[in-house]
């Protein structure tokens, strides 16, 4: 153990800001980060052991104890449940001989739950030792466990039925399918790597920013901040060292567009980062990728190497003296909140992913306190096309306030889940029709942090000025129990994923869960529903988007599906609204009295 720890820390120059990389690499070697290993890491880095532990224990995929020779992380998202995850879980447990949250007695199989792994179009899905296994069935689960016990390798377990496109690339070899159902011009049409960069080097940074501004490119992560303005702030911020981050930590359940973009067009993303670097005056780019997509690592590293060979990255890019820009990959370790830009920066610095207070904004003081731009994967793709085709071309697509296209991740109860790149301004009905959705009860727009809407609103359009969305649409059929199957699942998700810093987020989400469970069990009162609505005012005072939106699944369903709540409220004595089932609570007493 000592040798491995020492070697890994040496590889990262003993730099404590590289703690995430250090921990990921050491866990790869040792299987877990035990107390002894942690102590050794702390000593070698010269920092307190509790500081190493606070990072480790923040992230879902860091293990303190061995999690089995094969570690199964079965997704427990809403869509996975729709697709039959419960039966797959039961099959895994029966075959492995242990419950979820534990390792089988022989140490071969560890079974664990995990939040959405970005495979909502091919659920139920699991990560097994970092590789994705999709469309699982009870029979397949049984087969996998048997294979593990029989000593098969991960590759043998996978088989050779790789997915389409670059999923079958020898450096990927993933069972994942792209399911690109509709190609748009911004992200998924034909593209010549380097063309935009060669054009960019003939322009000044001011001209580039002016062009991005003229095109009104807005951030695609959901908040819609004007990209040109962000770049300008960073360019004007004092300092020689600046950073460009690409946020590929898509953790919003039901979202998987970045996975497909990074599989099919990583060059486009990297080129967008280099353009951002040129415009801002940054030499360093960091692609922060969620741990769930680590199966793309070798492939992405290879693409970066190829781009360096073609001088599209590195020194003197596209023949332009003084234009240096390179990109490294930074992986997360399982924390939804790291998708928030300041939490992402904290994480990249080797710390807990706790969002920062603003001001200062990342464009002033970001990564390592230097001016930093954080852009969404799709935003950077759009920028490349703007540079190639011009602002006017870009402005022809979309609506008044939302220009360009949006890549949608569509999943749930429909015939054709997958990726749809559409111009802004398509209605929810349009998408439902394309996806082959029938008898739709509700659509979750923008993931759990967005809103849950009913048929009365299906005519609304996807645009910043109407239904703003980071790009996920989960279609919920009429057969689903909206409160139990959706609202409760999302609320638990937010409870698990809170960083724990702000009081209203840390505690109130769990309290809301208790009340929702009470309502589902038939013991809720009208006052409970009123309280849940009132709590919305409290949560908006949280620091970050996670905290502010954590009760959205509850609040938006009370607003749009009130009868579903009312139908479950306690209907006994109208003057009395119990918080629990009185008859059940005194059952033993009643039985004792009756038998006496």
């Amino acid at each position: 153990m000592d040798k491995i720890v020492t070697a890994v820390i040496k590889k990262y120059g003993g730099d404590e800001t590289r703690l995430m990389d250090i921990l990921i690499d050491i866990q790869d070697e040792l299987g877990c980060l035990s107390h002894e290993t942690t102590a050794h890491i702390a000593k070698a880095l010269g920092i307190p052991q509790v500081d190493v532990e606070q990072t480790i224990s923040f992230y879902h995929f860091f293990a303190r104890e061995p999690r089995g020779k094969f570690t199964v992380y079965l997704n427990d998202s809403v869509v996975a449940e729709f697709c039959g995850r419960a039966a797959v879980q039961a099959a895994f447990e029966a075959a492995a001989g242990c419950q979820f949250g534990a390792v089988s007695r022989d140490g071969v199989i560890g079974l664990f739950h995990t939040a959405c792994i970005g495979m909502s179009d091919q659920e139920p899905a699991a990560l097994i030792n970092g590789q994705v296994f999709t469309k699982l069935t009870p029979a397949r689960a049984q087969e996998l466990v048997a294979g593990m016990r029989a000593g098969q390798t991960l590759e043998e377990l996978k088989g050779k039925k790789y997915g389409d496109g670059e999923n079958a690339n020898p450096r990927v070899r993933a069972l994942v399918e792209n399911h690109i159902r509709r190609r748009g011009v911004m992200v998924f049409d034909a593209y010549q790597p380097g063309a935009a960069l060669r054009k960019v080097v003939t322009m000044s940074s001011g001209e580039i920013i002016a062009m991005v501004k003229a095109a009104s490119v807005r951030g695609r992560g959901g908040a819609g901040f004007p990209t040109g303005m962000k770049w300008e702030f960073a360019r004007k911020a004092p300092g020689d060292v600046k950073y460009i981050f690409c946020n590929a930590d898509e953790g919003e359940p039901g979202t998987f567009k970045d996975r497909v973009i990074l599989t099919e067009h990583p060059q486009l993303v990297f080129e967008g980062m280099a353009i951002a670097g040129y415009a801002v005056g940054a030499r360093h780019g960091i692609l922060y990728v969620r741990n769930e997509y680590r199966y793309l690592r070798a492939y992405l590293e290879h693409v970066l190497a190829e781009m360096r060979e073609k001088t599209l990255l590195g020194a003197i890019i596209a023949g332009k003296a003084g234009f240096h820009f390179d990109i490294k990959l930074q992986f997360g370790a399982g924390a939804y909140v790291c998708g928030e830009e300041s939490a992402l920066i904290e994480s990249a610095e080797g710390k807990r992913g706790e969002p920062r207070d603003r001001p200062p904004f990342p464009v002033e003081k970001g990564y390592l306190q230097k001016p930093t731009v954080v852009n969404n994967v799709e935003t950077l793709c759009s920028v490349v096309k703007v540079l190639l085709h011009g602002a006017e071309w870009y402005n022809r697509l979309g609506t008044e306030e939302s220009k360009g296209t949006k890549v949608l991740s569509v999943s749930g109860d429909c015939e054709r889940p997958g990726i749809y790149e559409v111009a802004w301004g398509f209605s929810v009905n349009d998408i439902l029709k394309m996806a082959g959705a029938h008898a739709t009860q509700a659509v979750q727009v923008g993931g759990p942090s967005g809103s849950c809407i009913g048929p009365a609103e299906f005519g609304r359009v996807l645009a910043y000025e109407d239904l703003a969305t980071g790009g996920s649409l989960i279609i919920i059929g009429q057969q689903r129990d909206l409160l139990k199957d959706v609202v409760l699942n999302f609320t638990k998700f937010f409870r698990d994923e809170s960083c724990g810093s702000c009081v209203p987020c840390r505690a109130l989400t769990g309290m809301a869960q208790i009340v929702v469970e009470r309502i589902i069990a038939g013991h809720g009162s009208a006052q409970d529903v009123a309280n849940l609505q009132a709590w919305a005012a409290i949560r908006k005072r949280n620091r970050c988007g996670l905290g502010q939106t954590a009760l959205n699944p509850i609040v938006t369903t009370i607003r749009n599906f009130r009868p579903l709540y009312d139908a479950r409220l306690y209907k006994g004595d109208e003057r009395f609204e119990p918080g629990f089932d009185l008859a059940a609570a005194v059952k033993d007493y009643e039985a004792a009295v009756a038998s006496a």
């Binding site: 606070q54 409870r495 702000c502 840390r506 309280n531």
Partner: protein
């Protein structure tokens, strides 16, 4: 010489050094903004959210806000006061707070704020978490039942080498404050006392020491919290 800026709080014209923390600037101008995770002299965190005020109409934590020329601050709208009361209630319902048996009763800021905000019965469901009392440390007791995760100890307490003694563990509603066995090994009585005093509640206590001042005669028993600044 430091430059002074003019701004208003609740319509009153105030003067303070440019860049001063809003909580302190308000205090100097006779206006009390309740705080809990904030502690003078250590980096602010803005995590309890109690000091949320409206700066030019937008909600911001006063502990992380610096005063600038011309800013308009409102510290006491009905919505803000209701919010503060809610946060206090949530903290009581989140942990296990049994004031009558707590060494910090009377000098506990959470308790004092509850009195100031006239908290009676929390309107939030009690979570009754199962938490430990940690007593392995030679000089400190950590009662996790009372911890409100304000991070004062994490941010403010350092040993002679400048190393942290405390850190967060886990996340979400499972967060816990951990004590480092190495960096806290040889701490002085004075540092142990400082850690206890810095803790706003009774979560960090000194071992073999207590009840020096009888309950009833402690800081907030005599004078409600914030009343030295504003009644």
């Amino acid at each position: 010489m430091a430059s002074f800026v003019k701004f208003t709080i609740n319509g009153k014209t105030c003067l303070a050094e440019e860049g001063a923390q809003l909580v302190e600037a308000a205090k100097e101008n006779g206006i009390y903004i309740p705080t809990l995770c904030n502690y003078p002299g250590i980096p602010p965190k803005g995590s309890c959210r109690i000091c949320t005020v409206l700066v030019n109409g937008i909600g911001q934590t006063a502990c992380t806000t610096k005063v600038v020329e011309g800013m308009t601050v409102q510290t006491s709208t009905p919505e803000l006061e209701e919010f503060r009361k809610s946060v206090i209630e949530i903290l009581f319902a989140e942990g296990n707070h049994l004031c009558p048996s707590c060494e910090k009763s009377g000098s506990c800021e959470l308790q004092a704020l509850a009195y100031r905000y006239r908290v009676t019965v929390p309107h939030f469901p009690y979570l009754f978490p199962k938490r430990d009392v940690e007593a392995w440390h030679p000089k400190l007791v950590k009662d996790h039942n009372r911890c409100i995760q304000c991070k004062r100890c994490i941010r403010g307490i350092r040993n002679g080498k400048g190393q942290a003694l405390f850190a967060f563990g886990k996340r979400g509603d499972k967060v816990v404050i951990n004590i480092d066995p190495e960096t806290s090994r040889d701490i002085s009585d004075a540092l142990a006392q400082e850690a206890m005093d810095m803790c706003p509640v009774g979560a960090i206590l000194r071992k073999e020491k207590g009840f020096d001042v009888p309950i009833g005669k402690r800081k907030f028993d005599r004078q409600p919290i914030g009343s030295d600044i504003q009644a």
